[in-house]
């Protein structure tokens, strides 16, 4: 990837989506940040993508991969540095208010009004969209039911748990019945129970036909929720496809994880290198990529090696990411 912005006319030439029902089309999308006269920073470097109506689409990558910058451009609150971006066929630079009127946005950090009660948070937000008072009241009641917060309707936001705040933020993002819901790291910081409750609600939205676009650095979340995703690293897309397709294309069926003593993993990798298609050395364990993990463990023991702990599991998107970038998702 060149470190200069591409010729914008080249990006302009690719404006028509492949699919008529595409809700997001990006061609050569670029985001460059410039702080005063200091060096510039390219957060997104010429990515192409297309999201169709009703899809659950994910951006998977570690912190700093460019996911949030891309989401902010899609949300119409960050100008595109170069390339083309169309949301519902419209340019965010021209039709920002119209586009945002059809979007729901759930940001990475909750930005609820802590001073207002739960109901009022939904109510005033609905009014920002120009919805009539009675309509907003009815929808707020429905959404409190959806978010399992009806009993907390009059509670102040700062009295809610983290999971409740997250559910309220998602409920708030649905007040305008959006065609497209943007969720930036929707379950970061939540305990497992709260995550599963949230996933259940996102499934229900997906079945109701809402297009979901989410960014996450949790591979299980991406696998659970996304029909299709892109893996991002350092501002570029390194892979694209359905979760299972990506795993099949870039990893083996199973992975044998072997934990040895500290500092012994590199030496053992040499000894076990022929047992799988590939061996990855992590600071705390070895990963042997194979079609049969139990067979790897048996042959390891046959060679007189005694790992401190072992685990055989199916390949995941974490392995795809490791293969494509040489790094783990959570550095």
């Amino acid at each position: 990837m060149s470190d200069t912005l591409p010729d914008s006319t080249a990006a302009d030439a690719a404006e028509t989506p492949l699919h008529d029902d595409a809700q997001i089309v990006a061609r050569g999308l670029w985001k460059r940040f410039q702080q005063g006269s200091g060096p510039s920073f390219d957060a997104v470097k010429g990515i192409d993508l297309e999201v169709r109506k009703g899809e659950a689409f994910g951006f998977l990558g570690p912190n700093g991969a460019g996911k949030s910058s891309t989401m902010r451009m899609i949300a119409g609150v960050s100008p595109v540095s170069d390339g083309e971006l169309r949301i519902f066929g419209m340019d965010p630079a021209v039709d920002g208010p119209t586009i945002r009127g059809r979007l729901g946005v759930c940001p990475q950090e909750d930005n609820l009004d802590q001073e207002l009660n739960v109901f009022d948070n939904l109510y005033v937000y609905g009014r920002y969209f120009g919805l009539p008072k009675q309509v907003v009241r009815e929808r707020a009641g429905e959404l409190l039911e959806f978010a399992k917060l009806t009993e907390k309707s009059k509670a102040r936001v700062d009295e809610l748990s983290g999971g409740m705040k997250r559910r309220l933020t998602i409920a708030r993002s649905l007040i305008n019945k959006p065609d497209l819901l943007l969720l930036d790291e929707p379950t970061t910081g939540l305990d497992p129970q709260a995550r599963h409750l949230l996933w259940d609600q996102l499934f229900r939205l997906k079945h109701a036909g809402v297009t979901l676009v989410l960014s996450t650095h949790y591979m299980d979340e991406a696998e659970q929720l996304c029909d299709r995703l892109v893996v991002m690293d350092k501002g570029v897309i390194v892979a694209e496809g359905a979760p299972l397709e990506l795993i099949r294309a870039h990893s083996t069926r199973e992975v044998a994880e072997l934990r040895f003593g500290a500092g012994e993993h590199a030496a053992h990798a040499e000894l076990l290198g022929d047992l799988g298609e590939r061996v990855e050395v992590l600071p705390d364990r070895l990963l042997v990529y194979t079609e049969d993990g139990e067979e790897v463990l048996a042959r390891t023991h046959e060679r007189g090696l005694q790992p401190l702990a072992t685990l055989v599991r199916r390949s995941s998107l974490e392995d795809v990411f490791l293969r494509l970038t040489g790094r783990t998702l959570v550095d």
């Binding site: 192409d48 609150v77 039709d95 120009g130």
Partner: protein, 281 residues
């Protein structure tokens, strides 16, 4: 991924389309419910502080301190007592302080701490709508504060005509709004709380003390008095006092209004550009 074809090409010389913005008034109206809820929570405090603050100031400065001051009305810009002199200036200075306190930490909080503006900008609202609604709330606060201040002062007999307090009230709100837009613009560019400390120490306090609220600026000497007359607060103090004392030099009043209006419009422009640069990155 789509493959580009020549037929997809956009003419390279096609001018970029003009943004289709949400009308200003509509964007502000959509926030009325939000600010109404904020006001429903805070109005009691506004009323109490609007009553208490002028009462204490007037008691201390106008009555107790003013009891020692006996000066020729010519030296007090036409006021027959120090109380009548100091009250219009104090209300204008109080408007400045109210405006500054409403546009410093509250603006930073909505940008940086509670991030209310971030949530608002995820909707069809745009930065100028946010600035408009926030400043409209400040104008309401100023009207309540200056109006109550004036009502509290009515029994003291410090106003020389029935229309004087009305025009003085309008001048005080104008003066406050000028500071509101300028300080709002500062707050959108200010990254840390320390900036507000500097603003108060080097801006608000010197203005409060030396812009003619407590004594005629002619006491500052030739250079000092002209420097004081260049400050926005003096414009407001002078207007407020001329109307309250029914001692109006109309060309000076016109000049005072013009300076305040120009500064207010500049502040408005800087506020919108500052919030846009801060939030739309």
């Amino acid at each position: 991924m789509a493959v580009s074809t020549d037929s997809d090409a956009v003419a390279p010389d096609a001018p970029p389309a003009a943004p289709r913005d949400l009308p200003f008034v509509e964007g502000v109206q959509r926030q009325v419910d939000y600010w109404a809820i904020v006001w429903a929570r805070t109005w009691r405090g506004v009323i109490v502080s609007s009553f208490l603050s002028p009462f204490l100031y007037v008691l201390a400065m106008g009555v107790l301190l003013g009891g020692f001051i006996e000066a020729d009305p010519d030296e007090l810009e036409g006021a027959t007592s120090y109380l009548a002199f100091v009250v219009p200036g104090l209300i204008a200075a109080h408007a400045m302080q109210t405006a500054v306190s409403e546009t410093t930490w509250p603006v930073m909080g909505m940008i940086k701490w509670q991030r209310i503006y971030e949530s608002m900008l995820a909707t069809p609202l745009q930065p100028r709508h946010l600035v408009g609604a926030h400043l409209a709330s400040v104008a309401l606060h100023l009207s309540a504060t200056c109006g109550l201040y004036t009502l509290v002062m009515l029994p003291f007999g410090v106003f020389e005509s029935w229309w004087g307090p009305i025009l003085a009230f309008a001048s005080q709100v104008l003066c406050g709004m000028t500071f509101a837009t300028l300080v709002y613009a500062f707050s959108t560019r200010n990254r840390s709380e320390e900036g507000f400390g500097v603003l108060f120490r080097l801006g608000v306090f010197p203005l409060f003390l030396f812009s003619g609220a407590f004594f005629p600026v002619s006491n500052l000497g030739d250079v000092g008095s002209w420097l004081a007359r260049l400050t926005p607060l003096w414009q407001g103090v002078n207007l407020s006092r001329m109307f309250a004392l029914d001692n109006v030099t109309w060309w000076v009043a016109g000049l005072n209004v013009a300076v305040l209006v120009v500064l207010m419009l500049l502040g408005w422009r800087w506020s919108v550009s500052g919030l846009t640069k801060r939030m739309i990155t």
